[in-house]
């Protein structure tokens, strides 16, 4: 960045550097970060439609792909009302606090070998810290809109996100212990490309730690079954009841963006990030592209799983949410932490056959699950032409009146 600015301007002062950084930041945010949040909305609405026997957006752009752009423009044009009883400054500031929480996390996400904005040596610690800014924004929104439903939503989100930071943090520690460093790139470097070299299959404790981290991350992202702060059927719209127009969109863009951040962190910590099996050292561009592709696929698979969970499970109640965190997730997370520590003492260089065994066990579990899916299909008595494996198909079930 320094040489780039020196080349451009004769004797650059700090103003030029600031301008260049802001310009670069703007390009990255508006060119990459916000479209990712938008594309996640499109993935969610198409998958949700398919699960609910309907189609989902398919009018704007090819297969409805530009739906998020249409929503964005619509929200920009919509009037955003600030209720006069609301505390205006806080009310207006809340969405931007939430957005900084979401966009800030992209700094340390490793999209490829060289493709990282800043390879901080405190990578995962920084991301955990930045993503907890979201709770400040939501609480601010809930309290400042001076509406009882929003207050309830805000308080719920404070209780939820703060208490789920603990199991999330605790299940990151085994990975950090295994890789010996906090920086995201070095965590990935410790893992190999092959599935049995990933940290998830390293030992049974990290296998369980993966699920605990995923559940806790869902709670932090306010995703079902933990979407209590913005529970449509109970609190009208939760903390976002009084918001409208662009402010409302900022909240939900942050929510879907956080969903991608969860996918990215899970892919980095547990699934070997952008590691690809082939070296391809001599031609770097396809190598980086391939790395970026594998990272993208891995994180989007877990975004798909989160969406799939959202359209299957009901919502948990506030007290059950606290019980689940403090009585189930936190103790298990401690067990995993101690287990991994003991594992590293017993097998300093990794147990010989355990990763492969765990990999096979996971494959068997997946097989059982697919058998159960086929059982549901046969029981519902669906004929061949009522099925279609193309998820974007919009053609209707034949034979319906």
């Amino acid at each position: 960045m320094q040489e780039f600015v020196d080349g451009l301007v004769a004797n650059p002062s700090w103003v030029h550097y600031l301008g260049a950084m802001l310009a670069f930041g703007g390009i990255v945010v508006f060119g990459f970060v916000l479209p990712i949040a938008g594309i996640t909305t499109w993935v969610e609405r198409r998958v949700a439609g398919r699960i609910q026997s309907r189609i989902g957006p398919n009018r704007t752009g090819p297969a409805g792909f530009l739906q998020w752009l249409a929503d964005g423009i619509k929200s920009l044009l919509k009037e955003d009302i600030v209720p006069d009883a609301a505390d205006a400054p806080l009310f207006k500031l809340a969405p931007y606090v939430v957005m900084t929480g979401f966009v800030g996390a992209f700094v340390a996400l490793p999209f490829g070998g060289p493709l990282i904005i800043a390879d901080l040596n405190v990578g995962i610690l920084y991301i955990t810290a930045v993503t907890s800014l979201v709770v400040v924004g939501i609480l601010m929104a809930g309290w400042s809109s001076n509406n009882k439903w929003s207050l309830l939503g805000g308080i719920r989100s404070a209780a939820q996100i703060v208490s789920y930071e603990i199991p999330a943090g605790l299940s990151i520690f085994p990975i950090v212990m295994l890789s010996g460093a906090l920086s995201m790139q070095s965590i990935i470097a410790e893992q190999g490309a092959a599935p049995w070299r990933w940290f998830i299959f390293n030992n049974p404790f990290t296998f369980i730690a993966f699920f605990i981290f995923f559940v806790a991350a869902l709670a932090e992202g306010n995703r079902t079954p933990f979407d209590l702060p913005e529970a449509e059927s109970e609190l009208v719209m939760g903390f976002a009841t009084e918001y409208s127009g662009m402010r409302n969109l900022l909240f939900f863009m942050a929510e879907w963006g956080n969903l991608y951040v969860i996918g990215a962190i899970v892919a980095t910590l547990f699934l070997g990030g952008w590691q690809i099996p082939w070296a391809l050292a001599e031609h770097p561009v396809p190598r980086v592209a391939l790395q970026f592709g594998t990272f993208f696929l891995k994180s989007y698979f877990w975004v798909f799983v989160a969406v799939w969970l959202r359209w299957t499970l009901p919502r948990i109640r506030v007290d059950q949410m606290m019980i689940m965190c403090w009585k189930y997730l936190v103790p298990l997370a401690f067990v995993n932490l101690l287990g991994t520590a003991a594992w590293m003492v017993v097998f300093p260089h990794g147990a010989p056959g355990v990763p492969e065994l765990l990999c096979v066990a996971a494959a068997v579990l997946l097989g059982l699950f697919l058998r159960r899916v086929r059982y549901h299909l046969t029981r519902a008595g669906l004929k061949r032409e009522e099925l279609s494996y193309n998820i974007l198909a919009t053609e209707r079930i034949p034979g319906l009146g």
Binding site: I51, R54, L152, L313, P314, Q320, H376, A380
Partner: protein
């Protein structure tokens, strides 16, 4: 409407640390996403835990009982669909039975069979909506769309039978308006064969889900004695363990010809009479209704579907109290006739009116999220409460 009658005295406690806490008074409704129809609850809550939930009804009061006195006996039949538009057929049947009992009209066998088919389909139709919207109130949106998708099939069948999708106006005094159209019988049988496994799929998706059962078990437990005391009827009563169904215990129409059993709450996930029991009784009742419709379609006799009833219908003076099993339980029609062409008085006692009167009792110390579950499990529907 104001808050007259709802003055909730606000308790201000100062706990030991000198910190003053105050109860929050919330008005949930009449425009609220999960009060089914226009219902309003004034809630006094300490944080999330409710101290009191006072229902405030009357927003959908069209005074159907006054309209009955203005339009003739035949003219009131379309209005009975509006008494409970979620399950309209039983209401038609109630009014028709009341008029037939007053004028001692004998409905031909095929007409009674058509009525039973229509009522049982309307019961499945209403239970699907109730079960689907209950899952949505607890937070799962997919079961709602699956339930509504199955409900659309029944809409199409009933649309072909009587020409309307919600307010059917299918039955007439003395029988039913139309006979089964040709080919309808096979479509109905095919639908039942396709629908029964989908109930099990719905159960696997949501009913046995741990989060769902945790949200519903041991919530708002109603004992059998309280249920009878508050005159809870239908699935709400059977959920509390009382095995009572008007179709079997006070037989009317041709129900004695069919055999079906009465599902009762057994407290599988918690205690007998909690929200889960009322919900699971509704699901099992759908299967029973499928059994009845299948037997009905197989034993369908020939002959006319309506008796000769004069267009200017004047039943002899007198009164009658008809009870029939609607989707929301035993619906009582008290009808008085004074021999003229206009009904003198018609009082409709419905299941939801009794069910909402128990909400203040069961909703003490529940959480706000539970109140939504209680409203959904009691299957409250605004038109039936306010009439």
């Amino acid at each position: 409407m104001g808050l007259a009658g709802f003055e909730v005295e606000v308790q201000r406690e100062t706990r030991d640390g000198g910190l003053a806490t105050e109860d929050m008074t919330l008005s949930m409704g009449p425009q609220h996403p999960s009060t089914h129809g226009v219902l309003r609850f004034v809630i006094r809550a300490d944080g999330e835990v409710m101290k009191e939930a006072i229902p405030d009804i009357g927003y959908l009061h069209r005074s159907i009982e006054k309209i009955a006195e203005k339009v003739g006996w035949h003219g009131f039949m379309p209005y009975t669909d509006r008494v409970d538009y979620v399950a309209a057929m039983p209401c038609n049947q109630g009014w028709a039975m009341a008029a037939e009992r007053l004028a001692a009209i004998e409905v031909p066998k095929r007409g009674e069979y058509c009525r039973v088919i229509a009522t049982e389909f309307s019961r499945i139709h209403s239970h699907l909506l109730s079960v689907g919207s209950m899952a949505m109130d607890i937070g799962a949106y997919t079961p709602f769309t699956h339930a509504i998708r199955e409900r659309e099939y029944i809409n199409d069948l009933l649309e072909e039978l009587c020409g309307a999708r919600l307010t059917f106006h299918y039955m007439r005094i003395g029988g039913v308006g139309w006979d089964l159209p040709p080919g309808w019988r096979d479509k109905a049988l095919a639908y039942i064969k396709r629908f029964e496994p989908l109930i099990d799929e719905f159960n696997d998706l949501i009913s046995w889900n741990k989060i769902y059962t945790e949200r519903l078990a041991n919530v708002a437990v109603v004992s059998a004695r309280d249920a009878i005391d508050y005159n809870l009827v239908g699935p709400n009563l059977r959920g509390s363990g009382v095995r009572y169904d008007v179709r079997r215990d006070e037989p009317y129409s041709v129900y004695p010809d069919f055999d079906f059993d009465i599902p009762v709450g057994r407290g599988e996930m918690g205690t007998v009479g909690d929200c889960f029991d009322r919900y699971i009784v509704r699901i099992r009742e759908m299967k029973e209704s499928c059994k009845i419709v299948r037997q009905c379609l197989e034993k369908l006799p020939g002959g006319p579907v309506i008796a000769k009833v004069p267009r200017n219908f004047k039943p002899p003076a007198g009164d009658c109290y008809v009870r029939l099993e609607s989707a929301r339980g035993d619906m009582g029609w008290y009808v008085v006739s004074d021999g003229t062409a206009f009904p003198y008085r018609c009082k409709i006692r419905t299941g939801s009116f009794a069910a909402i009167s128990i909400v203040p009792k069961v909703s003490r110390n529940l959480m706000i999220a539970d109140l939504i579950a209680v409203i959904a499990s009691l299957d409250l529907v605004a038109p039936e409460i306010d009439r």
